[in-house]
C-alpha cells in the first residue's frame, strides 16, 4: 500500500452512461500528489466528463472515485477539496474581480483582512495587481482567465481541475499562459488535472498525459513516451503527425508495406500478421535515388516555416515527409527509414 499512499485521486472502474450512451467505459486512473496530469483527446472522448466526475458535477454510473483513499463519488462539489477552472471561466458577472476571487473565502467566513490579503496575493500571482475593483466584463479573455485561476487557487485546493482553460485565447497568449500555468503549478506544489484537445499543449505542460478516445483510456505516460512510443495508431495520429499505413509483419523484425520490406525492431506479432505501421514524418530520410530503401516521386511541397512538408508517392502508398531541405515537385527521391523509427501496432479496431 506504500505506493498507493502517493495516489491523491484514484479512479477505479469508473463508467458513465447518459441515456443509454456509454460516455466513460471502465476508467482506471490514479493521480499522484503534485503531478501535472493532462487528459487529452478529441471532443466527445470523455475527458471533460472524467474531470466533472472528479469535480462533483456528475456522478459515475458505476465505479469508485477515491480521494485520499475515501470514496467521494457522491459527495457534492462544495464538500470536495478540489476547485475547477471552467471552460469560458464562469466568472460571476454581478461581482467585481476582487469579489469573484473572494467568493470562496467569504463562504468559509474568513476574516475580511485575511480575505483582502489573500486576494491581493492572488492578484499579484496572476499579474493582475490593481484590477480588484474592475468589473469582470471589462477584462480581456486572458485577464478573465487569470481571474478564474485566482478564484480557484485562493481556496488552496489540493487538486486544481482545469477544463480547456486556454481554449478561448489566441495562439500567442495561449503559449504564454501554458508556461505561466506550469510554473505556477511548480511553485505552489498543487496537483493539476488539465483537460485539453490540444496535443501540443499537453506535451508542453504535463508530467503525465492520459490519451482518451470514445470513453476509454488509450495510453498513459509521460509526454516523451507518448510521443515516441504510441501504443496504437490512434495515439500516434492524435499526438503529432504520423503516416499510418496498413502493413504485414512478415516475421519478427521485418515488416512489409506497399510491396517494400523494412527491417524494424518490433517482434511478437506472429508471421504474416496484419499490422498498422506508424512512421513520423520527420523520421523519414530523403536520400539519393540509388541508395534508398524505396524510391518515390514528390507529389507536392508545402512550406511550413521550420520545415517543408512533402507528399511522396511511392508505389501504392503516399508518405508525408517533413524535411528542412526542399526537393522540387516531380523529382524522384530515395527514401530511408531506420528500424527503430518504424512503429508496429496491432491493427486498430474501427471506431464505434
Amino acid at each position: 500500500m506504500a505506493v498507493e499512499k502517493e495516489h491523491l485521486i484514484d479512479l477505479r472502474g469508473v463508467s458513465k452512461e447518459y441515456d443509454g450512451v456509454q460516455v466513460l467505459d471502465n476508467i482506471n486512473l490514479y493521480i499522484r500528489k503534485k503531478e501535472f496530469m493532462t487528459l487529452l483527446g478529441p471532443s466527445g472522448c470523455g475527458k471533460t466528463t472524467t474531470l466533472r466526475i472528479i469535480g462533483g458535477f456528475e456522478t459515475p454510473t458505476s465505479g469508485q472515485v477515491l480521494f485520499d483513499g475515501q470514496d467521494i463519488a457522491y459527495l457534492p462539489p462544495y464538500k470536495r477539496r478540489v476547485n475547477t477552472v471552467f471552460q469560458k471561466y464562469a466568472l460571476f458577472p454581478h461581482l467585481n474581480v476582487h469579489d469573484n476571487i473572494a467568493f470562496g473565502l467569504k463562504l468559509k467566513k474568513v476574516p475580511k483582512s485575511e480575505i483582502d490579503r489573500k486576494v491581493d496575493y492572488m492578484l499579484d500571482l496572476v499579474n493582475l495587481r490593481g484590477y480588484g475593483k474592475r468589473h469582470v466584463d471589462a477584462l480581456s479573455g486572458g485577464q478573465q482567465q487569470r481571474v478564474a485561476i485566482a478564484r480557484s487557487l485562493v481556496n488552496e485546493p489540493e487538486v486544481l481541475l482545469l477544463d480547456e482553460p486556454l481554449g478561448a485565447l489566441d495562439l500567442k497568449l495561449r503559449k504564454e499562459m501554458q508556461l505561466e500555468l506550469k510554473s505556477m503549478q511548480q511553485r505552489l506544489g498543487i496537483t493539476f488535472l488539465y483537460v485539453t484537445h490540444d496535443q501540443e499543449e499537453a506535451l508542453t505542460m504535463s508530467d503525465t498525459i492520459v490519451v482518451m478516445r470514445d470513453g476509454r483510456i488509450q495510453q498513459i505516460g509521460d509526454p516523451k513516451s507518448i510521443y515516441d512510443e504510441p501504443k496504437n495508431a490512434f495515439v500516434a495520429d492524435f499526438i503529432g503527425e504520423s503516416n499510418i499505413l496498413r502493413g504485414t509483419m512478415v516475421r519478427d523484425e521485418l515488416v512489409e508495406v506497399g510491396g517494400f520490406t523494412f527491417p524494424c525492431v518490433d517482434f511478437g506479432f506472429g508471421e504474416n500478421a496484419p499490422v498498422d505501421v506508424v512512421i513520423r514524418p520527420e523520421d523519414i530520410m530523403l536520400v539519393g535515388e540509388d541508395v534508398g530503401q524505396m524510391v518515390g516521386t514528390i507529389r507536392s511541397v508545402l512550406f511550413k516555416g521550420v520545415h517543408y512538408e512533402m507528399m511522396i508517392d511511392a508505389g501504392p502508398i503516399t508518405l508525408k515527409v517533413h524535411s528542412t531541405t526542399m526537393q522540387p515537385q516531380g523529382s524522384r527521391v530515395g527514401i530511408n527509414i531506420v528500424p527503430f523509427n518504424i512503429h508496429i501496432m496491432k491493427p486498430m479496431q474501427e471506431a464505434k
Binding site: F57, A90, F92, H94
Partner: protein, 333 residues
Amino acid sequence: MISSVALPWWAMVCMGAGLAAFIAMLVISIKRNHGVKRSLFASPYALWMIIFTVLPVILISYYAFTDSNGAFTLDNFKNFWDSHYEANKVIAAEAERLGVDYSQYIVRGTVNVDTLVYSLWMAFQCTVICLLLGYPAALFMADRKMKLGSTLVVLFIIPMWMNFLLRTIAWMSLLEDSGLINSFLRWLGFDSVQLMYTSGTVLLGMVYNFLPFMVFPIYTVLNKMDYRLSEAAADLGCNSWQTLYKVTMPLSIPGVISGITMVFMPSVTTFFIPRILGGSYTMMFGDLIESKFLTEGNWNAGSALSLIMMLLILVSLSILRKADPNGEGGGIA
C-alpha cells in the same frame, strides 16, 4: 365572397395611409440617392403609433383639462381628489344664495382615491403572490437536470391559448353558488360557501391570469444563464441554498423586474376580472374609468383618471428601470 371578408373601413384607411407613407418615403429617399434606408420600414408602424397612441394621448389630455363645453378647467382632477366636488360646488352656491353657513354640510368624497389605493393594494398583492409562486416555478422549469421542465413550460403556455375572458368566466362556473365546488360541498352535506364576489376571488382571478407574465420573463433569464455559474458557485463552496441566493437570484433580477412590470401594470388597470369575479362588491380603478366613460358618459372625468393612471405607470416604470438599467430582462421596463 370577397366582400364578406372585407376589412373595416378604418383598417383600410390605416393600411392605405401606411402604404402611401411608405411609398412616399421610398420615392423621396431614392430620389435623394440615399438608397433604401432601414428605418424606412418602420414607417407603417410609426404611422400606426401616431394614429392610435400619440393622438389618443393628446385627445385624453385635452379632455382631461376641459369641461363639457371645451373650456379649460382643473375640475376633473379636483373631482378625482373629491368625488363630491361638483355637488359641493352646487351646495356652496346654493348656501351663498340663501346666506347660510353651509360648511357643516360639506362631505369630501374619497371614493376615487380609495379605489385607486385599493387597486394599487390589489395589484401589489397580486404581484407578490405571482412572484412567490412564479419564481420557484421558473427555477424548476429552467433546471437543466429536470426533464419535466419543458413539459411544465408547455403547461403554462396552453391556458394562454384560450381567450382571457373565457378563462375568467370559467372560474365563475367553479366558484358561484350553483358552481362545481359548492355543488360538491352540498353533496357532501355541508353548507355552501360564498366564494364569489370577494376581494379574495378577484385576487385569485388576477393571479391566475397574470402568473405566466411573471413566470416567463424569469424563466427566460434563468434559462439563458450559464449553468456553469451555479456549478462554479458549488465548486467554491456554496450549497444549493447559497448558490440560489448568492448567484442565481442576483443574476435573475432583470427577469424579476420584467415580471413585476408585466404583472403589476395590467393588475392595476384590470377591470374585467373584478367585474366578473368581484361583481359590484369590488371596484378597481379600471372599472372606475370604464364607468366614467360608458355609464356616466363623462369623458372629461374619465380622461383625467386615465391620465392619473398613466402618470402612475410612468413613475413606477422609471423606478423599475433604475433597478435594471440595461433592460436585460427583455421586458417593457
